[in-house]
Symmetry: C2
Subunit: 193 residues, 2 copies
């Protein structure tokens, strides 16, 4: 059964980017620290977690801000290799990149974007890969089945918080898996609805 699952790296104090996110500084000041577990500090286990995420995901949904700051560093071929849907207010022609990535801009809301992503994903999962706002929106709309959070052993003190706009809503989670590596604690949660 295809799931809707978010996937993101977060500091222990809840930040998914440093301060001053902008084009040319996509992860914010020193925000790349959150991805050390995927690159400089990676272990075989970390690699396997990333591989498994790619293998199980059939389409990706991202926010417009993440697309704007990510587009240039991702380059061509981008690191998706599958259809990517961007939730935006700005109509734009789809883009076919190398290596199987397509960028499709959806202007009629998160539910419509999810419908398109589900159709593109087939039997695989739809991955909501950031940023914070779009994950919050799907969570608040009750459309998120699962969260995969990579908790990184650092306190950022400032930046973009993953969970900021829930407005006092209590959401129960069910922990389904915890994998510990030096660079992160990789935890999967089902969202209880």
């Amino acid at each position: 059964m295809s799931k809707v699952t978010c996937e993101i790296s977060m500091s222990l104090d809840g930040f998914i980017a440093g301060p001053n996110v902008r084009v040319g500084n996509g992860m914010g000041d020193d925000g790349d620290r959150l991805h050390d577990w995927r690159f400089d500090a990676k272990t075989e286990t970390d690699d396997a977690i990333v591989d498994e995420t790619y293998a199980s995901t059939g389409a990706v949904l991202i926010g417009k801000r993440m697309f704007d700051v990510g587009f240039e560093p991702w380059g061509d071929p981008p690191p998706f290799g599958m259809p990517v849907f961007i939730v935006t207010h700005e109509a734009r022609e789809p883009m076919r990149m190398q290596g199987g990535t397509t960028y499709t801009f959806v202007t009629d809301g998160i539910e419509a974007a999810l419908e398109l992503a589900r159709a593109a994903a087939g039997d695989k999962d739809v991955g909501i890969w950031g940023g914070a706002n779009i994950i919050q929106e799907y969570l608040k709309a009750g459309l998120l089945d699962e969260m995969q959070i990579h908790v990184v052993p650092v306190l950022f003190g400032d930046g973009t918080r993953l969970f900021e706009g829930l407005g006092g809503r209590r959401i129960e989670l069910r922990k389904t898996s915890t994998i510990d590596t030096p660079g992160a604690t990789h935890v999967r949660y089902d969202v209880v609805r």
Copy 2:
């Protein structure tokens, strides 16, 4: 070697209490959810973690607000069984409770309180058991050696955040242990200084 270590339960979105903390509502609205792993939902492993914390701790430091909201529910004997130092602005006579708990009120700051707690703890650790403000103060002052965080699978959306007042300071942590139970992910971090 005696360490200074904080110990606290936190929701995945970073809250250590629900909203509206006050006398008679010490954990905030529905805040007791954060302690299910210690009580209703506990496993043998959760019990062992609590036992180990008590065994390794020789004195406890808490904030005045935590004392005020905790005093009545803790009762007598209180659940410490060791010397407890309360950082406060208000001079007050020490209180000797049943079962080995003493409450000592320290008015000359966090360093003086730590000196007293270290002396009382002997070879054991000094435990900073909350609330959020006092943990932040010791962290910012560079006096915290270790954090033990029990990450509870729930999103609170509102309440008291553990990490709120770090003022953009980046603090590196070194994960030293992760123990997973259904009710919490128990993670120990050394503070890198």
